[in-house]
Symmetry: D2
């Protein structure tokens, strides 16, 4: 296994995985029976409970110089770290990023990992002050730029039918206006809440190539979608893509706390891992390793297929439900995960609309978002009109639901049932809604 | 427990801790029996093995806005996060940082956490480009500055007898030369390898106060030493200290991967937690929580006392051993953890000296460092003469060993035994060493 | 849960089960934080590993007087014990023993448990020396009688077509010959290897009723079959059934080591639990409790249904395979679990036939039995002709396979595949077999 | 390890033990990745929680014929079983039974295991009806005889000073009266509550030798006492000892549920293991194996030493306390574990005396026994006068406490503290007690 560097075809039993980790763990110096430690960091673990849950691995990953460098004191941990990165690369390729050349797991969530990537790019672009960022209304994406010390150039999305797509002309204008050498990178996005679609990655990749600007893709939960992965792959083939950042928890069903930095140029990926100062937690790597071994190549592909099937299922069921309630789905061909449904009943009243969200939550439905036009939010000095909708003036109030990896028939069943009840109740005392405007051709 | 916000007097049994975590875990929405999730992040865990080792906690800590903010979907995780920060503050105070006002656990090791602090300070000092940094030869400290995008002003240490202390006049000169407003902060250090001592924190604190420059203290493994904690406390009382960063693994015997950001001003500490973009791994918090509950206040103090006792023990035993081999200990009154011993036999030959380190390692002694004069290293464009010794021209070759928290009698016993054999063997075929020069008065 | 005394409708998550056991465990005195023990048995556990795997339960079940009596020192363990017995009764009823009135779990496997039942019956029948036992060729059943100190009267089975059924006339003759008051009980059997069928329980029950002889049923793995359970229920309704003994591992998929003693008269069942001298291991009870909570009533019934379906599947597949190889299935309408298939090729050669078994085992097929006529075995002084076939002169050589609870499609698939290969290979160099004789009408 | 058959000198870490069990477990056929099972017992485990707590071992120990026979389907379990028996023998020898030749672990507690031994002896002594049993007031010992179907000949103890010793003349008279060939065995006892001492094993052994009567020793918790073990060893050397039965939980600090059958003649011990009908739970063996590996030879001996030290400590502290309260310790030189203290205050009132026990229990003191003269109990038709005191007319009311293996300084400290308070309170409203009579010379 440690030499093959690929996912096993069939998943391993937990018993086998534990046995494997147990053997590796015994290779770390803190687990040598006759070891004596007189350094300042000897992976001593005070609590047996903590020790066991980490399989007695205490040294973390990385060395002061590099997140991917082996630690002499911790041969087992080093193998785990390398192997996880190998298997993660294999899993990304299987999911569609066929020509990815290198990747590594960072024990930080997507936002902070994007920050680390931007900080690394700074070394090769010392004059750069700006990051061009097609708007996506997730706070941590925006903050990742600000935390890294750069000024975001927010590119408003264009309305195409119901769907929101990259304002590609605005991107071009911004490059010219600010000067390519002053721009650290374009930070685009794949996965996002409807009605925003995947960014126009090929066009952005072409612009980046033409202006020699790095292109970082926030692929937070896009690994689970073959469409997201395909579009990244295309952009990399025809234009420029430097780094792709994805969440481990959102794509691989592990606890929050890890991200994978992947790229098509090994040297660049290495430079990011080398830019991380010091060691780091091994927990996200170990979680991912266990999960990938448990799934195997077949299990991983089956999960991806199943998700796609559930997306169709969710879409069908929501469409029928929408019809029953005089609503309709938003037509968003470029969003393969999240689905929006109009909420037209006295739609202007934000307070009443957001009640729907809390009514659902108290009925154990988590994850829906209700967006009513008109919210304004200031983040790090930047004012976002129509916050939540990825657009200053989106024309509809709506609700979103996502078919994310791991969703089950039962989830869909329950969601549709509860949403049906909630909408019925919500409308009971309200005047009949005006029919929603039909979706213009996308 | 969740309302007291203090360490329990006596440690809890593992059974009780697991029961407590189990109850909290059932409060997270992913563990509700009838939950259905249609969001993009529902804390679904593919592997039962992963789920169990995290007590079925999947949502991590923090919200897009803030590492310390509660998550509505994850009430249990939120309690764990808050409680951990409360107990950590109590533990820091018990260890000597009596007037600390706030702290939080970051799931990143010390280096990256220092980077995060520097990035936060940038927002209030947009013109600043420099970080003043009394030299300490640990790569990740230096890299923390560079990764954050700042230029380190390296302050050479002064030789005071055997000991290396802060070049305080050079700090003052650097402030004047660069201009206070161009300086992001002074980044000082407490814990370090001998013969470097704790930085002159009071003097640095006074300079920072006088020039209105933030003062960040890298207290990596200083929590375990009442001397380190006392000097920070003094500097905060008499001068300026903004942030103190400490490792969880080095001080609290948990796996690598967490740090505590502490301070004397709640607003500043909060601004750092708010600067972290997105959620983060709960694993380091959970590890620390388990460990603090298992220790209790009494257990924590007992561990600190025991470490101090072991330091004296290690010092005595090394002194006797040094005498037997014609060596002597370096006199470093301001280093309460690490101990240096001269290596005088044909000391100029670096290769031969470093053999001692590998001979020890193959005998299961981990953590010693052998420093031979004359190494030069370039890190991020900066050239360090005499790398490893915290000084360009340290006059002795030497070996260090540390009495870090958790060290046992057996560790010391074995170390002394193995070192004795190694030194005997190493000298066998060599000419008798010249007597080491006596230590000048400190 | 602890008051309902019934299986939960839906199974519990492992998380919930662990949390429940954790709470109960804290009620045992050895887990009180301030307990001090000065008895000779204080449930101190030397190894944390052992303690954890038993959820810190150390006191076992029962008291010196009675396996079902609560222990004052161990309130939690006592609840677990009582609850397990309640849920086991509910599960037996759901499986078809509708009028069962009492049962308890014994931490001994079926054989030793039958011994305990016989030893208890002795107290009310002090003159009895014999146990009437319709032959079944499983060593431990026979030994259970001998170990208890009784003399087995072995009743040869009658050949009815392919099938072996109770020699009911011989039973009657034996009762008369030995004298009813000298007979401790009739020990009949439900589940067994084909071609033996379930004993004629109604006829045996009638005889026992008429002669006032106790009737003990060895229902080792019959709980999983509605037919076995139905026939027991019928015999109890129309005739006499005193005690029914069943294995926990064979019916409930827990590790080997427990049995359930059930009956239709609470006083009799209690007298057996009271006859057990001393305490006993709680492990089999805890395993069964966990499993029953995890299954719930729905899960339990689904498992039973699934097994029945798999029996039909296995039968169909074996029938097709038999045809391909010129063999046929033995017609055994009264065996709902085990299936026999003739092996006619030069059938007289025992050594060659038993090769088939080892060829299968080396191909990872476990559990088949190959029976060639002519084996004789002496157990405890009794000579069994034709050992293995439940009959002195069974006319066929054959192989058996069982559709036991938990068997999967994959098991059947692999078994048929391997058996096909093995039979093909085994016959390759042999003369064509004579056609097997047709099954006479059952 | 598996070939050495001896305790490791130093204990193993839990990590190593788990790794070792994990490897063995993978050798059982139910854990082969490609296994397919078509038998009636395939060690399928429905619950993952159950599977993990048993290290995925499901096949139990033993085969239909013999508790110590290997199972072809379960190579790992078989190794575990054999190894446990080997290490148990080594541990018994280290504890003083130097010439023991064989032993095996039975997954039944002491009482039922004694029953099994008696049932086995029956085969070689078919005429025997009686068991000679020097009285000990523990119900399960007496019941072990009755359950096996024998008639106990109760031998009243003789009062020797405070102490109760074997009525050796009565034993001899009983042998003559009943006829040696009608006596199954003498069942003697080592460990018991004060003031009964160890039976006069040498004298009993000589009588058994002279009359050719088997001698079974109930050594329930005597392994922990070098005195008990020494006296057994002596009796075996100079007279006759057939079987020695000891509890695993009381001597080795594992959960209740196992016993060790040991002897000086391998064939006899084997005949008992062969008499067990069927397989049995592996849990008690696995618990003992883990514990013995964790202790190692050094740890085991240290525990035994520590217990002896604690006995002296408990005795001293109780003596001082007794003096303060006008009581005295019972002088029982032949009881190395349990200590009695007179309770003279209005001693005739049984109800008031037994209050002391409940007052202690509500103060978290478990394990004391308060014995007031005059209780009569009928067990299985036999009437015991003065039940609890091992004697029909013991002259004192008293309380016992035991220094059993694993007892700590804290236990003793708390016990003395609570007993002090309870006695003070109990006497407060009572007339001053008469001074207890001095102990006559033993």
């Amino acid at each position: 296994m440690t030499s093959q560097r690929k996912l096993p075809a069939d998943g391993w039993s937990e018993q086998l995985i534990e046995s494997f980790l147990g053997e590796l763990s015994l290779m770390d110096s803190n687990n040598f029976p006759s070891n004596c430690g007189v350094g300042e960091r000897e992976a001593r673990l005070a609590s047996g409970l903590v020790s066991r849950r980490h399989f007695h691995l205490g040294h973390g990953i990385g060395r002061s110089g590099d997140l991917t460098e082996p630690q002499p004191k911790a041969a087992g941990s080093s193998v785990i770290n390398r192997l996880t990165n190998d298997l993660a690369l294999d899993a990304l390729r299987a999911a569609g990023l066929r020509t990815a050349r290198a990747c590594f797991v960072v024990p930080m969530a997507t936002g902070m990992t994007v920050t680390l990537c931007l900080l690394t790019l700074r070394h090769s672009r010392p004059r750069a002050r700006y990051v061009i960022w097609p708007r996506i209304d997730q706070k941590s994406c925006f903050k990742a730029i600000v935390t890294a010390g750069f000024e975001p150039i927010v590119i408003e999305n264009e309305l195409d039918g119901d769907e929101l797509r990259t304002g590609i002309d605005d991107v071009q204008r911004a490059i010219v206006a600010k000067g390519a050498e002053n721009i650290l990178c374009v930070l685009s996005t794949t996965s996002c809440f409807a009605p925003r679609g995947i960014d126009r990655l090929e066009e952005l990749g072409a612009l980046c190539r033409d202006h020699s600007i790095p292109h970082v893709i926030n692929n937070a939960y896009g690994v689970q979608s073959s469409k997201c992965m395909h579009e990244i792959q295309q952009a990399a083939r025809t234009g420029r893509v430097d780094v792709v950042v994805q969440s481990t928890d959102k794509n691989f069903m592990v606890p929050v706390g890890g991200a994978i930095v992947a790229g098509f140029d090994k040297a660049l990926v290495d430079s990011i891992s080398k830019n991380y100062p010091g060691r780091a937690s091994a927990a996200p790597s170990v979680d991912l390793l266990i999960t990938l071994l448990a799934l195997g190549a077949e299990g991983w592909k089956a999960r991806l297929q199943e998700r796609k099937r559930m997306y169709t299922e969710l879409q069908q069921r929501m469409m029928q439900l929408a019809e029953r309630h005089g609503e309709r789905l938003l037509l968003t061909r470029n969003n393969p995960i999240s689905i929006g449904m109009t909420l037209t009943g006295r739609g202007g009243d934000r307070t009443e609309l957001t009640q729907i969200g809390s009514m659902l939550y108290t009925r154990c439905v988590s994850g829906t978002r209700v967006i009513a036009p008109g919210d304004t939010k200031v983040i790090a000095g930047h004012q976002f009109e129509g916050w939540g909708a990825h657009h200053s003036h989106y024309p509809h109030a709506y609700l979103t639901a996502a078919a994310a990896i791991g969703i089950t028939e039962t989830d869909v069943e329950r969601f549709i049932g509860q949403l049906d009840k909630v909408l019925a109740r919500w409308r009971r005392d309200r005047p009949p809604p005006a029919a929603p405007s039909p979706a213009p051709a996308g």
